[in-house]
């Protein structure tokens, strides 16, 4: 935090209640400005100003802060230092590196822009343009080859343009070094950006391109387009975090920003270790080297949790501007909303639903709208996709965070407790989920991969719905009382659920599934179901079909490689021959 030139703008603390601090006497304070409090210079953000007094939310534990302590206006908003060194590292909600921090997190740490280890690190800068070139915002200045598995591109910052009048000569530079002068502006290697402000771009792209997650139930049934937003509501124990971790590991994005917002410390350790051990098949590096982890666990200060969501998406936008497809995973947005609620209550705001402040919906909307597939200032096509977990209290899907979130996302993956309890993972329900871009994505598959993705999806959805309807009927009258073709539908539902939709995160063959293998598995299942219906029509009794060995179909996902579509297709003839033998 840099003090404004001239006299320090000092005032004093008058009230402390948990993370809420009230101060008086700081001149010309503006909303969102950071104020340093007390001898430890605790970082606090201005959220309300009345006359000479102001209310702040503190980003640290406020134990020991006393009325009369000095409060100093910093002139800055909450900024993150965006530069090389983000990939592969872990940060807290204020983008301060945790990788280099002490074992116990006490309040006396430097801000992200002043962290000594970050500023001391040396980078190689390789220029890409010559002095004298006319440059616009977003144009490439050079690259930093030693900053992770994706090429780190240093761009002309937003709002800066003109002739490149000077370029750094030495190849070794630091985050705060000036590396170029463009139109009279100094451009430093790392950029300071206020995290609550979205980074600008040229235009939104309209074409829907699917994000391939490697998770069949998502890729085949409830897809997500790059640059749109999805929410994952699910009660505890429904496997939310595991699903998000799978997406972090396997989706075809260039960069992943994983925001652990008010969640478990052990989980963050697990993500970190899991990603460190896995190889990125696209780059050959480790998966952690394309990942930025923002960890504000549930026992860390609550208001930094509120900021962590914005920090995460700002980092994502930074990589988007370099031309990459970025996925932001926020686990969990409910904990973020709780931080909002906690503070609003302490501030005496009138509550709307369940104690949440009245602006909850608009805050959520503003966050999810930062997801976009865009043409960047530099003319690259790139995207930020947002996937937010929602943790409804008591599994109640009518609570405010869940209902408001549903309005602003394009895809909803509702996790079902019954599925989870029967160990059907990922427990994505096919009754309460949606994918609003499914038609557009179907067109993409048709145009680009020439596959009949939409038709396959439609057939699966109707089969599952029919099987569910018949299952509830069978519970009353017994499955044996159903006519043969309906018993085959029941069987087909089971084959689809167990053979395609269920996916083991722990299996080497099954944790990731290519689009082609997913399609092949569906085709195999559908062919077998068609064959069974044909047998019924030819008079084979349903019981003998039900007792047939479907192991070939059910184990196909496990016994073929992650991208082995041919291996799955090869089972088709054998499976059909086995059934034919029943007639």
């Amino acid at each position: 935090m840099d003090a404004v030139a001239g006299t320090p703008r000092n005032g004093r603390v008058v009230r402390v209640s948990g993370p809420l601090i009230e101060i008086e006497g700081v001149a010309e304070l503006s909303m969102l400005e950071l104020v340093a409090i007390g001898p430890n210079r605790i970082s606090s953000e201005t959220v309300a100003i009345t006359g000479d007094r102001a209310v702040l939310q503190a980003y640290e534990y406020t134990g020991g802060v006393t009325p009369g302590d000095v409060a100093t206006g910093t002139g800055d908003q909450l900024v993150g230092l965006l530069g090389p060194g983000l990939l592969g590292q872990v940060f807290d909600g204020l983008l301060r590196p945790l990788s280099s921090a002490e074992l116990w997190l006490t309040p006396d740490r430097a801000s992200s822009t002043q962290d000594a280890a970050t500023l001391a690190r040396e980078w190689t800068f390789v220029p890409a343009v010559a002095v004298g070139t006319a440059l616009e915002s977003g144009d490439l200045l050079g690259t930093v080859p030693d900053a992770g598995s994706v090429e780190h591109r240093v761009l002309v910052p937003p709002g800066v343009s003109g002739e490149l009048s000077w370029l750094v000569e030495s190849a070794v530079v630091h985050a705060s070094d000036v590396i170029a002068q463009v139109g009279g502006h100094d451009v430093t290697l790392a950029e300071r950006w206020p995290v609550r402000r979205a980074r600008p771009f040229r235009a939104r792209a309209t074409e829907a391109v699917p994000l391939h997650t490697g998770q069949r139930v998502l890729d085949l049934i409830y897809p997500l387009a790059k640059g749109s937003a999805a929410a994952v509501p699910g009660g505890f124990g429904t496997g939310k975090t595991l699903l998000l971790q799978q997406i972090a590991k396997w989706s075809d994005a260039d960069v992943i920003v994983y925001v652990g917002c008010g969640e478990r410390g052990n989980e963050m350790a697990d993500v970190l270790q899991g990603l460190s051990e896995l190889v990125d098949s696209r780059t050959g590096g480790r998966l952690i080297d394309r990942t930025v982890i923002i960890a504000n666990t549930s026992n860390m200060p609550m208001m930094a949790r509120e900021a962590s969501i914005y920090t995460g998406i700002t980092v994502a936008e930074y990589y988007r501007d370099m031309g990459y497809d970025v996925v932001v995973i926020a686990d969990s947005t409910s904990r973020w909303a709780e931080a909002l609620r906690e503070f609003a209550n302490r501030n005496g705001d009138l509550p709307a639903e369940e104690g949440y402040p009245a602006n909850l919906a608009s805050r959520l909307a503003a966050f999810y709208e930062r997801a976009a597939r865009v043409t960047t200032l530099g003319g690259r096509t790139a995207s930020v996709t947002v996937i937010g977990a929602v943790s409804p209290p008591g599994g109640d899907m009518t609570e405010p965070v869940t209902t408001d979130t549903q309005r602003f996302v394009r895809s909803l993956w509702r996790l079902d407790r019954d599925l989870a309890y029967s160990r059907h993972y990922p427990a994505v329900s096919w009754t309460g989920s949606f994918a609003r871009d499914a038609d557009a994505i179907g067109l993409w598959y048709q145009a680009v991969q020439h596959s009949n993705w939409s038709a396959r999806r439609a057939r699966v959805i109707s089969l599952l719905a029919e099987a569910d309807r018949l299952a509830s009927l069978a519970e009353i009258i017994g499955a044996t009382s159903l006519p043969g073709h309906e018993r085959v539908v029941l069987l087909g539902g089971r084959l689809l659920r167990d053979g395609v939709l269920m996916q083991s995160a722990l299996s080497a063959n099954d944790a990731f599934c290519s689009a082609e293998k997913g399609a092949a598995l569906l085709d195999l299942c559908l062919a077998v179901i068609d064959k069974c219906q044909e047998l019924i029509e030819r008079g084979v009794v349903a019981t003998s079909i039900e007792q047939a060995d479907f192991g070939l179909v059910l184990r196909a996902k496990e016994e073929t490689g992650p991208s082995d579509a041919q291996g799955v297709a090869d089972r088709r003839d054998e499976a059909l021959a086995l059934l034919e033998a029943l007639s």
Binding site: E102, R264, A269, G394
Partner: protein, 467 residues
């Protein structure tokens, strides 16, 4: 580790301008230089000292909660001195073998606990980067836990119960039997809001471990001051952290009953007229519980671990009640006790299908317990789920009309419950015994139903059919 911000110049000033007494709260006026969250000593004429924690400071006014409650206090005759820093307690092995009340004062007739160093009871957040993902099991000797929901060192795994079920028997059995395979194991048992009969039972069950100097017992009875419960788990965890990360022990912390703790938090919140979230509990209950539960874990490159087993009773058996619900969101799984299972005469009455240990996949299996463990557990559970359908079907159409397979499933359920799940409340089973019983039960089923077990495991472990 920092020990707060020392403020020696204010430490010994006594304040007597009491403006308001409301529930557990005291509002003092004319106070200067007192920081938020400081601890205080409250002297009431002619009575024992009480203890306070600052909840809000505003100009010259301080609002604090009194752990012992405000009963008998009047606007005059009270003197408060502030410590100048948040509450700290002595830590170290001086706690082992001791029995204390909910504020950490001895109940066993011994001298006050002392230690070479003190630590703030709130602790500091553990940097997630320094955490080691938990991966070694804690063996409890209880089949249904070791076999199906393995407790892992550094995990937090709660027991959800309803009043009337033997959760205290289970909690004390875990406390008495748990070991971590050779490493030095210590237990901190924090009782909150338990009846005197329950407390006597706990002391009796854990006597052996206490005598061996492996146990710290903190006891807050149902008729002890309610607000004291806010402190009890924090003392327990601060002691546990020092035993684990200072001295390298594997420490198990059992906290029972967390519902009583949450009620104390709610009482303070209501007295402060805060806007309630669900069922009158404050909106920060999640974060408050998280600051307790998140103190479990392991540290990279260090010996020792803190494992937490909170016990809570769900009011009216409602798992969506805020206390179990928020707990479930923070903890890594849950062990759910069920009255239906109890009614079938099974101890411990664990509802295995709603119970889950999320860390089991890294804490069990080859090199941890046994190579076939995870697959066997998955198969036992899948078969139980299938058996329930068969039982429901039998109720509809009669057991006689069931298919052969359904009948075998019903037989399997009876057998697995009797042989594997059921055990005496003082019985310690080895892991080999537990998994052997699981295989015996699975042998009731036709071999082709065991689809979750590989052919190799079936050949090696499946017992031959009897007779």
């Amino acid at each position: 580790m920092s020990d707060g911000i020392p403020r020696p110049e204010t430490g010994l000033v006594s304040h007597g301008d009491v403006r308001e007494l409301r529930g557990p709260l005291v509002v003092l006026g004319d106070v200067e230089g007192v920081g938020w969250d400081e601890s205080a000593t409250v002297v009431v004429d002619g009575e024992d000292d009480r203890h306070g924690l600052v909840l809000e400071v505003s100009d010259d006014q301080v609002t604090m909660q009194v752990l012992e409650g405000t009963d008998g206090m009047a606007l005059g005759g009270i003197h408060v001195t502030f410590a100048g820093h948040p509450l700290e307690i002595p830590v170290g092995s001086g706690w082992l073998g001791r029995v204390c009340n909910g504020r950490g004062e001895p109940l066993d007739g011994g001298p006050p606990i002392s230690g070479a160093t003190t630590q703030p009871v709130n602790g500091w957040p553990l940097n997630p980067v320094h955490r080691e993902p938990p991966k070694e099991p804690v063996l409890t000797g209880i089949s249904v836990i070791d076999g199906l929901a393995t407790l892992v060192r550094g995990q937090k795994l709660p027991i959800f119960s309803v009043p009337g079920l033997p959760h205290l028997a289970l909690a004390t059995q875990i406390a008495a039997q748990a070991t971590s395979g050779g490493a030095s194991f210590r237990v901190v048992f924090a009782a909150m809001g338990l009846t005197h009969a329950d407390i006597a039972y706990v002391r009796d069950r854990l006597e052996e471990r206490s005598a061996a100097g492996e146990l710290v017992l903190l006891l807050n009875a149902a008729d002890d001051p309610v607000i004291e419960r806010i402190l009890t788990p924090r003392i327990a965890l601060t002691v546990a952290e020092s035993l684990a990360f200072g001295e390298g022990h594997d420490v198990l912390v059992i906290m029972s009953d967390m519902t009583s703790y949450a009620e104390a938090v709610r009482e303070v919140s209501a007295a402060r007229r805060e806007i309630p979230a669900r069922r009158g509990y404050p909106g920060y209950l999640y974060s408050d519980l998280a600051t307790l539960y998140e103190r479990c874990g392991r540290v990279r490159g260090q010996e020792g671990s803190v494992t937490i087993v909170p016990v809570l009773t769900m009011p009216a058996g409602d798992i969506t009640h805020p206390v179990p619900d928020l707990t479930g969101y923070i903890t890594e799984g849950q062990i759910v006790l069920s009255a239906d299972v109890e009614a079938r005469g099974i101890y411990p009455p664990v509802d295995v299908l709603s119970s889950l240990s999320r860390l089991m996949r890294s804490g069990a299996g080859k090199g941890r317990t046994r190579e076939d463990h995870l697959d066997v557990a998955a198969q036992v559970l899948a078969a139980i789920a299938r058996a329930r359908q068969s039982v429901e079907l039998a109720e509809l159409i009669g057991a006689g009309s069931l298919s052969e397979t359904d009948q075998r499933y019903i037989e399997y359920q009876a057998r697995v419950e009797r042989e594997l799940f059921n055990q005496r409340d003082d019985e310690t089973r080895t892991f080999e015994d537990t998994i052997g019983r699981a295989w015996e039960a699975l042998a009731t089923l036709p071999r082709q139903e065991l689809t979750m077990l590989s052919t190799a495991y079936l050949d090696q472990y499946l017992p031959k059919p009897h007779g």
